[in-house]
Symmetry: C2
Subunit: 319 residues, 2 copies
């Protein structure tokens, strides 16, 4: 958060990656650019613009290198990208991503199904990536996070041992990542579990090395989990505009927590995000236009802001 002294919480928009990779439709490059530009103009400081995966696997992400180049032209925006492996990391760094993150699934069954790799193989790949990053001139080195997916449970294995998550966090740090994030990929997390796991992981790797969580709203608990994370001092929260992407395993169920509702919550609580809520709420129209018929989530966009809402807290003081 050192780059963002004027905000309390960094809302990292992941819709162009996690949202778009979860739907069948391919959003045209121009619409992706318009989305990214509009969110940045609303004050969003970090956007995960795509994933460096083979286009054969995820054609929705085929233009990620172009998007990174475009997003880098927006002043002040941190351009993030997901990388599944060493090759993806090379491509992301070549494209100029400021920050890359690699998912490591706490569930080994999920890791094999998703990344086709065992834990050991993923950790090896992380070591190769950090070695490559360290071989670069300092100015060209991206930030590099490891994200532990299925950290709160897995659709294949069910419950995931907390000790396994703690162990993987330690191994990721040892392999050279700058920090570790926890992802509720399956929407299984609850606030008590989140608090417990954040504390356990921080006790192992240090408080400052776990700064972010990636939450889904699959069972409606997304913002409650976000609140629990805030209570633990987490300062980076991923979210997706319009909750785009839903949950491919559960028709009708929401995917990522919704940027609009998250920012309303943070702003109403008096936490500074740097984001203009009114402007943010207008960005949704870009998704509606570019992805007709695609389900969008979130309640604040439908209900509107409270009467007389002026931002920067609600209900404080004499009223």
């Amino acid at each position: 958060m050192q780059e963002h002294d004027d905000i309390d919480i960094l809302v990292s928009e992941v819709g162009p990656r996690d949202g778009l990779q979860s739907i069948k439709a391919i959003m045209p490059l121009a619409a992706k650019k318009a989305w990214i530009a509009a969110e940045a103009a609303a004050g969003v400081r970090e956007i995960e613009v795509g994933s460096f995966v083979p286009p054969k696997l995820l054609p929705q992400m085929a233009d990620t290198a172009e998007l990174v180049a475009y997003a880098r032209s927006i002043p002040g925006l941190v351009v993030a990208a997901l990388v599944p492996n060493y090759r993806g990391a090379e491509n992301a760094i070549r494209a100029g991503a400021h920050k890359i993150s690699l998912p490591l699934s706490a569930s080994e069954s999920h890791s094999k199904a998703n990344l086709r790799r065992t834990h050991d193989q993923v950790i090896d790949e992380v070591r190769q990536i950090t070695a490559f990053i360290r071989s670069l001139p300092e100015a060209e080195r991206p930030g590099f996070d490891g994200n532990i997916s299925t950290a709160f449970g897995c659709t294949i294995e069910g419950a995931v041992p907390e000790a396994k998550v703690v162990e993987l966090a330690r191994r990721l740090m040892e392999a050279g990542v700058d920090g570790v994030g926890l992802s509720d990929t399956t929407g299984y997390a609850n606030p008590a579990q989140l608090r417990r796991l954040v504390r356990l992981v921080r006790a192992e790797i240090g408080t400052e090395n776990l700064s972010g969580v990636h939450l889904h709203n699959t069972r409606g608990l997304g913002l409650a989990n976000a609140l629990a994370a805030l209570d633990e001092g987490i300062t980076t929260l991923d979210s997706s505009l319009g909750g785009l992407g839903g949950c491919p395993y559960a028709p009708g169920a929401s995917g990522n927590i919704v940027t609009e509702d998250l920012v309303f919550m943070l702003d109403a609580m008096g936490l500074r995000t740097g984001i203009d809520l009114d402007r943010l709420l207008t960005v949704r129209q870009i998704l509606r236009d570019a992805l007709p018929g695609e389900a969008l989530y979130g309640f604040t966009p439908d209900a509107g802001l409270p009467k007389g809402y002026a931002g920067g807290g609600w209900g404080v003081g004499p009223g």
Copy 2:
């Protein structure tokens, strides 16, 4: 909570009142009975079965006296009813409600629009009701709560002074109610505001006299607010099965927090509600059948429970 030693949190189902009064369709009496019976069988301990308002104003509630009589036949169920005034309280007590609650809007404009009474007039009515209750033999006296509606903001006035809410809580206690609840009628609340207001009100009237909150999910913050309430030691939470009723002022926006998602959150956190989640999830079908086309909310019913979920906490221990 003295009647409920075996649970940590009392989930008070308000759908038959707050849900049904907010939709145009009138649910047949038989379906209402089936709903109440099914929720009670799933372990729900308290249900607000209706409102004692003139049938001319709310024809959806015309059968409330019959429902109270029916619900009283279910062993162990606390039968609650809303009363807008003295006359409603008399009818509710005559029908045999175990518990009655009267709304007092923190916003006087809202009070005049909704109850057609000023604050002073409502407080007078509360005094008359408590006098009437005290005139009854002890075994026939219902519990009597005052619920401060629009406590977190009003669609007419906007922000509501916290000092006004505190003052009204004191005046309600002075007028003889057993306890005070806070209602986020408009879905304006955020977790920071909720914590602050709960503390302020409790400092005025005593911790034990504010045990419950009534939350809406209009802007998606419902369960985050519920979590904040739990953190403050609140032990009674209102909710509505399927979030029935939505928000009449905001098409597409959810109304009450959803019983299914709330109970999943509480249960996953290891808090005892006495409710069997699997059985609870089947009750929704009664609403679908009796109210075809009516929007239902909630994510857990669509997504299902986590793989291997056995209730009574999730993610604790070795996994």
